[in-house]
C-alpha cells in the first residue's frame, strides 16, 4: 500500500485562509466578505493586506449573499465566509435566487461543517449542507480533505467561472496531500489502488479511509481509496472504472447519508453500473456536543466504521 505521511495536524479552515491570502496577492478582483467570524475563517491576513477589498457585513448572512451577488456585476469575485450552517440553510433562498439562478460568480466558503465542529453542538453542526447545495442547478460543491488541498481548492475556484460551495472544517486533522499539488475541480484522485473494494471518501473522512485501507491491507484486503473532493460535478468515470474492478463500494463523508456524496454515487451507479454500496455517514440525525473524536466515533465516521463497511459490502458482492 502506498504510504501517506501526516505532515502535522492543521485545520482545513487555515488552508482556506492561506489560499485567500495568496489570492489577495495574485488576483485583484478577489473580494472577501465575512459575517462576524473573521478569526474562525482565518481571514485576517487577507484583510490586513487588502483592507479595501474586505467587507465586514455583521451578523447578517442573507445580506452578505445578496451583496456578493451584486459585487460580481462589475467583474469582482466575492468569497463569502461564515460557518457552513449559516452559509447554506440560513440563506438558501438568497443563494438560490440571487446567486445560483442568476448564475453569479460567487464563492461560498463554509467553515465548521459537520459534527467535528464539536462542543457547540447541533445548532452549529450542519450535516445537510452538501445536499442543499448540490441540489441547486449550476452549483459546484467541493469538500477538500486537508490543509494543502483546501488551500489549493480555494485558489482554484477563483479561476473557475460560476457559483461554488467550498466546505471545510474546524478541527486540526492530518495534512498529507502534497503541498504543490494543483487542484482540478471535478477530478477524483486515486490515493491507493486496490482490487477488493472501493472506498470513495470526501473531506475529513479521506484520511480515515487511508487509515482503514492500511488496516485492511494487514488483513489481506486491498482497498482502492479515492479522494472525491468534488461532489458536484461528480467524477463518474473514475468511480465506474473503479467499481468495475472492485465490484463494491463504500462511500464515506461527514454528512447525512440523505443528500450526501454517497447518495450521488448511488444515483450514478444505479443507472450506469449497479454495485453494492455501504454508506459511512450520519443516519438522518442531528449532532450533539462533544469532542470531534468522540463525535466521529459515536456517529460512525472513522477508520473503524469504514473498515466494517468495507467488509460488509465485500460480502454482498
Amino acid at each position: 500500500m502506498k504510504k501517506y505521511t501526516d505532515q502535522g495536524k492543521v485545520d482545513t479552515r487555515s488552508g482556506f485562509g492561506a489560499g485567500l491570502t495568496e489570492l489577495g496577492r495574485t488576483n485583484p478582483n478577489v473580494i472577501a466578505l465575512c459575517a462576524d467570524l473573521i478569526g474562525s475563517l482565518k481571514m485576517q491576513d487577507f484583510i490586513n493586506e487588502n483592507p479595501e477589498r474586505f467587507f465586514q457585513v455583521g451578523i447578517a448572512e442573507a445580506n452578505m449573499m445578496g451583496i456578493a451577488a451584486g459585487l460580481t456585476i462589475g467583474g469582482k469575485i466575492p468569497f463569502t465566509g461564515t460557518f457552513a450552517n449559516f452559509s447554506t440553510g440560513r440563506v438558501y433562498d438568497q443563494i438560490r435566487q440571487s446567486i445560483a439562478y442568476s448564475g453569479k460568480n460567487v464563492k461560498i466558503c463554509a467553515s465548521h461543517a459537520g459534527v467535528t465542529l464539536g462542543e457547540d453542538g447541533a445548532t452549529h453542526q450542519i450535516l445537510e449542507d452538501i445536499g442543499l447545495m448540490k441540489m441547486l442547478p449550476g452549483m459546484t460543491v467541493i469538500n477538500p480533505c486537508d490543509f494543502n488541498q483546501t488551500k489549493a481548492a480555494t485558489i482554484a475556484i477563483a479561476d473557475y467561472q460560476g457559483p461554488v460551495y467550498l466546505r471545510f472544517g474546524r478541527p486540526k486533522v492530518a495534512n498529507f496531500t502534497p503541498e504543490d499539488m494543483p487542484f482540478e475541480i471535478g477530478k477524483g484522485i486515486v490515493l491507493n489502488p486496490g482490487n477488493d473494494v472501493t472506498i470513495a471518501a470526501t473531506g475529513h473522512l479521506v484520511w480515515e479511509a487511508l487509515l482503514a485501507a492500511e488496516a485492511l491491507e494487514s488483513e489481506g484486503i486491498h482497498a482502492e481509496v479515492i479522494n472525491i473532493h468534488t461532489i458536484k460535478p461528480l467524477d463518474t468515470e473514475l468511480l465506474i472504472e473503479s467499481v468495475q474492478k472492485t465490484g463494491c463500494i463504500v462511500s464515506a463523508e461527514e454528512h447525512n447519508y440523505l443528500g450526501g456524496l454517497g447518495e450521488s454515487i448511488a444515483g450514478v451507479l444505479a443507472s450506469k453500473h449497479p454495485t453494492p454500496q455501504e454508506f459511512v455517514a450520519t443516519n438522518d440525525t442531528f449532532g450533539e456536543s462533544g469532542t470531534p473524536a468522540q463525535l466521529m466515533e459515536k456517529y460512525g465516521l472513522n477508520k473503524n466504521a469504514i473498515m466494517a463497511a468495507a467488509k460488509k459490502v465485500m460480502n454482498r458482492k
Binding site: I31, A60, I67, G70, K104
Partner: protein, 281 residues
C-alpha cells in the same frame, strides 16, 4: 426640459403593453406595474445614463435593479421600448420557451436584466453589492433600485438598510413604491409598518418623500434632486406614493388587481382609456 408630450405617449403605450401581456396569459401582476409605469419611464428615458447595448458588468453606466420582480410587465415593456430587445418579444410573456419569465431572470439571457428577482427582499442587497463594485472600480455612476412597500416586511431589507448607511454606500438611490397594498389587503391590515420614512432616517439614510409618484414631472424632479445628493456619505431613499392600477379606473383604489389579469371585456375598457401611441407589439 423633458418632452412631456412624448413621455406621456410612452406612458400610454407601456400601460397598453402591460394590460395586453397579462391578459394574453391570464396571469401576472398589472396593479403594481401600472402604479410604477411613470417611475420606470422617468428612470429609463430621463434619468439613467445608459450605454448602448447591454453588458452584464454595466461599467460606466447607471444600473437598475428591480427587487419586487412581480411587476415584470412594466420592466419588460420599458426595456423593450428602450430597445434592449424587440418589442414583439413582449408577446411571449410567461409562455413556454420565453426569455420573459413570470419574474425577471438572467437565466434566459434577457438583455437589461442583471439579477433574478421575485422572491422578495433580495434586491436591495444586490444593488448594494453592485454599488460597492462600482466604487472599487472607480466608476462614478449610480445604482438605482425599486422595492415594494409590502416587501419591506422581509427582514433581509433591514440588514441591507443597516449596512448601506453604516458603510456609506452613497452611490445608491433606492425607491420604495408606497402604494399601501399587498396581496392580502392593505399593508396596514396585513402588517402595519409605521412610518417608513422615519425608519430609514433612523438607520442613517437620506430620505426624500415623493408625494406624487404617478406624476412624471414630480418623479423626474425628485430623482434629479436625489442624484445631486449622491457622494455625500449617505445612501438615498425615495418614498414614492403611488396608486396601484394607475391609469385604469377600475383597477385603482383597490388591491384586487395585484395579481389578476383583466378578462376580454375588462381589457377593452382599459385599453380605451389608454390609446395606442407607439404601436402595439
Amino acid at each position: 426640459m423633458p418632452d412631456f408630450n412624448f413621455l406621456n405617449t410612452v406612458v400610454s403605450q407601456v400601460r397598453r403593453d402591460i394590460l395586453r401581456m397579462v391578459h394574453k396569459v391570464n396571469s401576472g401582476h398589472p396593479g403594481g406595474s401600472l402604479g410604477c409605469t411613470e417611475f420606470f419611464i422617468a428612470l429609463y428615458y430621463e434619468i439613467m445614463k445608459l450605454n448602448q447595448g447591454f453588458d452584464m458588468n454595466g461599467s460606466n453606466e447607471d444600473l437598475f435593479f428591480l427587487s419586487n420582480g412581480h411587476i415584470s410587465p412594466v420592466f419588460y415593456s420599458v426595456l423593450a421600448r428602450k430597445g434592449y430587445f424587440p418589442v414583439e418579444e413582449l408577446s411571449t410573456f410567461r409562455l413556454i420557451d420565453s426569455r420573459l419569465q413570470g419574474h425577471p431572470t438572467t437565466h434566459e439571457g434577457l438583455p437589461g436584466v442583471r439579477v433574478a428577482s421575485g422572491s422578495l427582499g433580495q434586491g436591495l442587497s444586490v444593488a448594494i453589492g453592485a454599488a460597492l463594485s462600482k466604487k472599487l472600480n472607480n466608476d462614478d455612476k449610480t445604482v438605482f433600485t425599486l422595492m415594494g412597500d409590502g416587501e419591506l416586511q422581509e427582514g433581509q431589507n433591514w440588514e441591507a438598510i443597516m449596512f448601506a448607511a453604516a458603510k456609506k454606500v452613497d452611490n445608491l438611490i433606492a425607491t420604495v413604491d408606497l402604494n399601501g397594498k399587498q396581496i392580502d389587503g392593505s399593508t396596514d391590515d396585513v402588517l402595519p409598518m409605521g412610518d417608513i420614512a422615519a425608519k430609514f432616517k433612523a438607520f442613517g439614510w437620506e430620505v426624500m418623500v415623493l408625494e406624487k409618484g404617478n406624476d412624471l414631472k414630480s418623479i423626474i424632479d425628485t430623482l434629479k434632486t436625489a442624484q445631486t445628493k449622491t457622494g455625500n456619505g449617505q445612501p438615498i431613499v425615495i418614498i414614492m406614493h403611488t396608486e396601484m392600477g394607475n391609469g385604469v379606473d377600475y383597477m385603482m383604489h383597490t388591491h384586487a388587481w395585484h395579481g389578476k389579469a383583466p378578462n376580454d371585456e375588462q381589457l377593452q375598457t382599459a385599453l380605451a382609456q389608454n390609446p395606442e401611441t407607439l404601436g402595439d407589439y
